[in-house]
Every structure is written in C-alpha cells, then in structure tokens.
Assembly symmetry: D4
Homo-oligomer: 79 residues x 8
C-alpha cells in the first residue's frame, strides 16, 4: 500500500467548494483546508502507483477549480 | 483577532484594476501595489479563522483577475 | 485548538535522522517521510498561535539539519 | 520616498530572535512574525533606492540567522 | 547536438492524456510520468538551439493541457 | 530614471509570438528569448515608478499569452 | 522496481565536482549536468521505496556540496 | 557564441560585495543589482556550453557569498 499527500492549489475564492467536493471521495482518508502556499492538503491511501495514477486521472479530474496539485509519496509513517 | 497578509498574483496587465477593486473592501486595512514575485499585498483583520475563510470564499471570490493568493497569518506585531 | 502541518526540508542525506528526532516530540501527532519538494511532513496540535510560536522556537530549534520549514495552519478538517 | 516590504526567511528555530533584533531598527516601520512560506514581514520607508541598498548592506547584514530576503518595492498605497 | 530535459506541469487530471500525446513525438527520446512538483519529464535531442525553439513553437504548442514547461539544457552526460 | 528587468512566463508554445510582439514596444530596450524557469527576459527604462505601472497596465496588457511577469527594479548597473 | 529522477542543486561553483562524484555511484543509471533551476539531474533504479530511502541516507549523504535534492518517482516510462 | 543570463541570490547583506566582485570579471558583459526574488543579474557571453561550464566552475567559484545561481541560456536577442 502507498500513502501519499496531495498539496492542492485552487482558483482563488473556490477553497470551500473544492474542499467539500474532495471530502466526498472514498480514497481520501483525511482532508484539511489550510493557509499558506497551498489551499488544501489531502492524504490518500492506494494499493500501488498505478492506482495513484487513476486517482489523478479519474478522481481529481472530476473536481472543478483545482489549479495545481503536487503529490508527495510517503516511505515511512509514525502517528 | 487574527491579522494576516495576503500576497496576491494577478493576470498580467490587470494590476491597477485588481488594486482598485480590493481597495473598496472593508476587511482590508492596508493595500500595496508592489513589484516582484507578487503584485499586490493586502493586510486584513478578522475575528477568527472562520472569518478568514469567509474573506476568501466571499470577498476575494468576487474580484476578477486574481490568479493566486498566499495567506500568511501573523502571530506577533510591532509597529 | 490549532492544527497545523509543517512541511520540512532537511540537509540532503539526513532525512532518516531528522525523521527519527522529530518522532520523539509529543506535540507532533503524525510524521511522514516523503519524496518531492519536501522531505518530512508533520502534523501538530497546539492550543493557540503562541504555542505554535513556542513549538518553532523551542522544539524545532533543538533538531539539527532542518534547513527550511513552511507551516500551514488548518481551518477545517474532515477525516 | 520609497516604501518596500521585505519578506524574510530565517534559520528554523530563530524566528523569535530575528524578530526581536529587527524590531530595534529605526528604518523598519512595522514588523510581523508570520506563518507560511516566509517567517517575518517588515515594512520599511527609505528616501530613495540607494538608501534601500544601504538598508540591506548595513542594517540587515548585522542580523544573524537571516537566510533569505525578498524585497518588494511599492508603487501605490491605500490604508 | 543539444540534449535537454523538459519538466512539464499539466492541468490536473490530464496527466495520462498529455503523456500519451507526447509519447508520439519523434524528437522526444524518453518520457516519464512522475510524482512531485512536475508531472511529466521528457528528454529531447535537437541539432541546435533554434531546433529547440521550433520544438517548443511547433511540437509542444499542439499538445493541449500543458500548463508550464521548464527546459534544462545539458552540457555533459554519463549513462 | 528606473531600469528594470521583467522575467516573463508565457503559455507553452507561444514563446516566439510573445517575443515578436514585445520586440515592437519602444520602452523595451532589450529582449531575450531564454530557456529555464522563465521564457523571455526584457529590460525596460522608465522615468519613474508610475511609468513602470503604466508599462504593465498598458503595454504588457495588450500582449496575449503572457501568463506571469516578475519585475526586478535595478539600483546599480555596470556594463 | 522503482525509477526515480533526482533534481539536484549544488553549492555554486561545485557543479563539476558533484557531477564527477555522483557518476561513480552504481545505483545511478544516468547523470546530466544541466542549466536552469537545477544543476544536475540523475536517474536511479531501486528495488523499492526503502532502497530509495537508503540511496538518500547513504549514497547522497557521502557527497559534499549538495544543497538540495528533489526526488520525482516515475509511474510510467516510454523511451 | 552563447549569451546567457545568470540570476544570482547572495547571502543577505553581501549584495554590494558580490556585485563589486563580479564586476571585475571579463566574461561578464553587464551586471545589475536588483530587488526581488534575485539580488544580482549578470549577462555573460561565452564561446560554447563548455566555456559556460568553466565560467561556473572557475569564475563563480572564486566569489564568496553566492548562495544560488540560475542560468538562462538565450536563443534569440533584439536590442
């Protein structure tokens, strides 16, 4: 299994809309609306890197007003 | 109360227009047109972080030609 | 209470060391070693913004090899 | 007269120290400790661009732990 | 001959589409879909810098959904 | 008099078009098409900062396909 | 197997030195000295993400004058 | 012949020193001290890309306090 963070920049003024749209997606384990260089942070869990491809090509593609995403794949975790 | 700076990048050539539109907003305490990586700097005062959300979702959303905003929340101030 | 993410860049080659040092800190709720523009992502919970100041001035200061941090304060969360 | 903002990045953990050192400088009209891509924002007023040069070469040079500065010169202001 | 890498950022959700469109171009020697600050990396070989101009003005121009490219010209290579 | 550089990013594939359109403007003293994080570099000479404002609001506004500009005001020069 | 690109920024003036040091490493399949936002691009092949961790913690750690690395993990390839 | 711009970031407070040191170099045709994301802009003319390598490895290496350089190779010019 792969854990990844997606740092999301949205069209200014659509932060709440995008946050709500993303919150309905099952692959997304956590979602935060944040202030700074990025607007939304999501944490996803996928089986492998090809499912991560599909998450971008299918899930994120449907959501309007996302201007940029930057995906960080995690190699270790402690919580 | 929260003080925050919003660093704004606009569509090239619309700097004056966006500056004038923002200057009419009450929540904005100060506004500067600047040269460099950003085009406009605004300082806002809001009651709490949810009012900062509303400032983005309602006030900034109405202003055309804003391409990117980056919000820096202040923890201390001396002037 | 404030939730924040700290995106961390470390001196190349010290990723594991910094990750292990951060993992011992109590204020840090989750910590991920990641690949991309940043090397480590941490999620912290603090009482208010002044405790966030202290987290930087005291906790992060003790950890060697951190080159840059960028802190994103969250306004909403769903998990 | 020139008004300028200096966005400052400091060595992680020295935010409070740098903020306090800068707060003593006369040319600095306002100073904020902030969260995000930058750590401190200062607003300066200088007579002309050569005094801005001196502000960097003399005033900022004395302050330890500043890692990066980015100066934005303002052309208009409303407050 | 000039070897260059083009780091490509695409409209979110169109990664696979752009990757497939680029893969058909003859000047492109290698193409990778990647995760991080960029979405696709391509390696091109051209005769000289004016052919590199034409690669951008003609080849890349035809491909929809490319939002940003950053071209790095190589001076040495070992493989 | 103020000398300034404007670093320009254009819509991918329109580099030559934007370069040719800018080359016709009188305020622009030099113009280079370049490879890297930016696509075009221009050097302008203006009387004062308000004429620099007008250069952006009037001259750059007319040129299609400019996606971002970053203006660096010079304080000293040797050539 | 994982393929990844590592974009490397070095201390100015040490480009050739770092390039030569990296060229001796077996995990590195290709290495380019480049001009732009980054100075060296390397392509590595590793068995899994924990070997990628070790590549950073052991191989890159030994090389002096590397200031920053940004690793992009590839999901697809055509050459 | 290759024309290139080198965008230079220096250690804060050493802008004048670095500017003066660079101004003595023969390969540098023009040099500007600037305000914004970069501190100094230089324009160089070299015979070919290997001479550009040597310019970095020999000329820039001798100059203290340069923290980062980003080199943009020009393909066309009008002045």
């Amino acid at each position: 299994m792969i854990e990844a963070f997606v740092l999301v920049v949205v069209k200014p003024g659509t932060e709440e809309k995008v946050y709500n749209a993303l919150a309905k997606e099952e692959k997304i384990k956590e979602i935060y609306r944040v202030y700074g260089e990025y607007d939304v942070i999501i944490r996803v869990e996928v089986e492998n890197i090809h499912e991560l491809d599909r998450f971008h090509d299918e899930t994120l593609r449907k959501i309007s007003n996302i201007e940029m995403t930057e995906t960080l794949i995690a190699s270790s975790y402690r919580g």
